[in-house]
């Protein structure tokens, strides 16, 4: 890989993988002690979160299309796909916030139990990463609407795209381990 921009993003994502790796391993470290109704992943709703997960997955697809449109100078496609990406990302984040309020209403909080601490740390830090990505996407959308996201600047959007796919993959790992695995 000789493109210095892509290489730098790739290295940053490697370091982020170590960061999330530690949090995921720490979540699993306590897995045997997640027992009882309010101290276990069984308090979560995998179906609802599954829907939001699909939104996040779809946003990776729309961002890929937005990047291709940018490369080919198709300004209409670029704007539509970017707008769809921002909307899908916002749906995911909104869904996570809604899930949090439901849990907190049931008195499952970051300080209520070991599971609560682990769950809110892991998903919260991931949510912050989604939020950061969403900010970058909104900036990209603004540039696209202003006609500034031209094909020779497509590398900027490619960098955001790499980051977004990474955050997406991390979520798939979290969703599988936290939401699905306990139900198997």
């Amino acid at each position: 890989m000789t493109d210095k921009n892509k290489l730098s993003m790739f290295l940053f994502l490697l370091s982020e993988a170590a960061f999330f790796g530690v949090l995921i391993m720490s979540y699993l470290y306590y897995y045997p002690s997640y027992t009882g109704e309010r101290n276990s992943p069984l308090a979560l709703d995998p179906l609802l979160s599954g829907l939001f997960t699909i939104a996040l997955l779809a946003s990776s697809f729309t961002l890929w299309r937005a990047q291709k449109s940018t490369e080919h100078g198709q300004r209409g496609g670029q704007r539509v796909w970017l707008l769809a990406t921002v909307a899908l990302g916002a749906i995911f984040l909104g869904g996570q916030l809604w899930e949090y309020t439901q849990l907190i209403a049931e008195n499952i909080t970051i300080s209520s139990s070991l599971f609560g601490t682990a769950f809110f740390t892991l998903t919260g830090v991931h949510g912050l990463h989604v939020f950061g990505g969403l900010l970058m996407l909104v900036i990209a959308l603004g540039l696209a609407l202003g006609g500034l996201l031209t094909p020779h600047r497509a590398i900027g959007l490619t960098m955001v795209e790499l980051y977004w796919h990474f955050v997406d993959v991390v979520w798939l790992v979290i969703f599988t381990l936290v939401y699905l695995w306990p139900r198997l």
Partner: protein
């Protein structure tokens, strides 16, 4: 083919403010040389602060049952001494050297991302200031540099010390990661034509590998810091019941052991540049010196639990960690043998730089041998948390990292400043520091074996303890005097030193192919690179390296 090729990208203008002057010329700088100098000067300022903290510690310990300072202040001192020396001195000074030298050694005009480079510098400085601000509100960290849970948790440390520690390290950590990414990308994409990875100068090689250690290790620490702050600020229970403090130890040492190598690999790189030049021979076993660095990088992530033998994780863990720890001493041993073999039969020139480099071999090896004793679980149980450990890691960090950095300063100062450091003051500096280091820390091996625990405010008047501690304190004073001579030399030589010329040591790597100090774009023109020693080839057209290599 022409003999002289242009430096890559030499036509690009440097990004940044146009023609600023005075202080702004430094603060707004995105030039890798200025940023490198600011890293090094910043680290030296923190070095003096951390050194003064050490002096206060030694003053308090000079006599048994002393009450020179309060126990609370003592705890803050040994905590901040450790944090300062590791994060605000060791890492930034090595990153600073990397910043200054890597683009020059690979024939580039700057780092890959000059603005990101400046960001890393300022994150280091403000992270350090954030941590030290805690003294002004009287709540400095006092839980030890490793912040062991549950001591660092809310119920046991209710003041803000551990929060300053966490947030300060988070800020400097992001800076280190961004700097490491920059170095890796720079080395990978901006090498001069002909400068293949197998011809890379060894300092650049090791700084490159070190970049990978930093991006993984510091992010492991960052994850731990997040968890600790979730506990402290939001009432979580990662490391307090029903959670377990052992998890903190796993996370911290998964970072902490690679960190040890982060502090030594670039130092190995400096030694690998300096010993060949002052032995007038190419490095012995280049491939092994470079390759063993990669082995160290991988193994350093597998040995963390040897810091945790006292936790008693079970016989399987102990056996694995013990074996892995002994394994990691092998690639380091390979380097030591390569350096000795380089000196063997060479025309040795004992300049101050070479004195520091040669004594590095001896002192670092002593520290390495005591290190291997910790791989043996029964020995570790006997000596853990005693002054034997303190003696061990000061031999490797002062005698290793710092002696290599001193060697590097004497070697590269002429390139940076354009004037030679005084050899006369340099010799004083070396011998005082050599004596001071050994006086301070050699006796601590015995104190540890006699059972004196670390991190104690004071100690009872047991036979021999008072005398040995007094010797240790006197050694500390001698080291302080040595640092004073060093600082005087740095300042005096900047004005009065002999003009250096382009290549005062008749060295062979590209940084010596340009003027001292180098122009803003580093090179007007580059010599062709056909071997590991381009300047040797240039000076000896009748017997170039590249004819022998192939």
């Amino acid at each position: 083919m022409s003999e002289i090729s242009l430096a890559p990208d030499a036509a690009d203008a440097l990004p940044g403010l146009s023609q600023p002057s005075g202080l702004l010329r430094w603060i707004a700088s995105v030039d890798h040389k200025q940023i490198g100098i600011m890293y090094i000067v910043g680290a030296l300022v923190f070095f003096v602060i951390g050194g003064l903290e050490a002096m206060l510690i030694r003053a308090q310990l000079a006599q048994p049952n002393a009450k020179l300072i309060s126990p609370e202040f003592y705890n803050q001192l040994f905590t901040m001494h450790g944090v300062t020396m590791v994060f605000l001195v060791g890492m930034p000074i090595l990153i600073g050297f990397g910043n200054y030298l890597v683009p020059l050694q690979i024939g580039a005009h700057d780092m890959a991302f000059p603005r990101l480079n400046a960001l890393g510098l300022w994150l280091f400085i403000f992270g350090g200031l954030l941590m030290y601000f805690s003294f002004f509100i009287g709540q400095a960290p006092d839980q030890g540099w490793f912040s062991y849970a549950p001591l660092a948790e809310q119920p046991y440390t209710s003041h803000r010390g551990p929060d300053y520690w966490s947030l300060g390290l988070f800020v400097t950590g992001i800076g280190s990661v961004s700097g490491a990414i920059n170095v890796i990308v720079t080395v990978w994409t901006m090498r001069a034509p002909g400068l293949t990875m197998r011809r890379l100068p060894l300092f650049t090689w090791m700084t490159f590998i070190n970049g990978f250690l930093i991006i993984f290790a510091l992010q492991i620490l960052n994850a731990g810091l997040v968890m600790l702050e979730v506990d402290r600020l939001f009432g979580g229970s990662w490391f307090t019941p029903p959670g377990s403090p052992v998890l903190w130890q796993h996370v911290f040492w998964s970072f902490g052991h690679p960190e040890v190598y982060i502090l030594i690999l670039p130092a190995f790189g400096m030694i690998s540049e300096i010993i060949p030049v002052f032995s007038r021979k190419p490095i012995f076993g280049y491939e092994f010196v470079a390759g063993s660095t990669i082995v160290i990088g991988f193994l350093s992530f597998t040995v963390w639990a040897h810091h945790m033998f006292a936790v008693d994780l079970g016989i399987g863990w102990h056996a694995f960690q013990s074996a892995a720890t002994m394994l990691i001493s092998i690639p380091t041993g390979i380097k030591i043998f390569s350096w000795i073999a380089t000196m063997w039969g060479g025309k040795l020139r004992f300049t101050t730089a070479m004195l520091f480099a040669a004594s590095f071999l001896v002192i670092f090896t002593i520290g390495g041998i005591t290190g291997v004793t910790f791989a043996l679980v029964p020995t570790d149980w006997q000596t853990t948390d005693t002054y034997y450990v303190v003696a061990h890691f000061h031999y490797v960090l002062v005698g290793g990292t710092f002696f290599a950095v001193y060697a590097g300063v004497y070697y590269w100062y002429p390139k940076v400043v354009g004037r030679m450091l005084s050899e006369r003051l340099g010799k004083w500096h070396f011998w005082l520091n050599f004596a001071g280091l050994n006086l301070t820390f050699f006796v601590q091996h015995f104190l540890g074996l006699m059972g004196m625990p670390r991190r104690v405010y004071t100690y009872p008047d047991l036979p021999g303890w008072g005398t040995l501690n007094l010797i240790s304190t006197l050694g500390g004073l001698i080291s302080a005097l040595a640092v004073l001579v060093f600082v005087v030399n740095l300042v005096w030589s900047a004005r009065r030193g002999q003009p250096a010329g382009d290549n005062p040591w008749q060295a062979w790597t590209l940084e010596w192919a340009t003027t001292s100090p180098p122009p803003p774009h580093n090179f007007e023109e580059l010599p062709p690179v056909r071997s590991r020693r381009p300047l040797w080839d240039l000076a000896h057209p009748e017997d170039p390296d590249w004819k022998r290599e192939h």
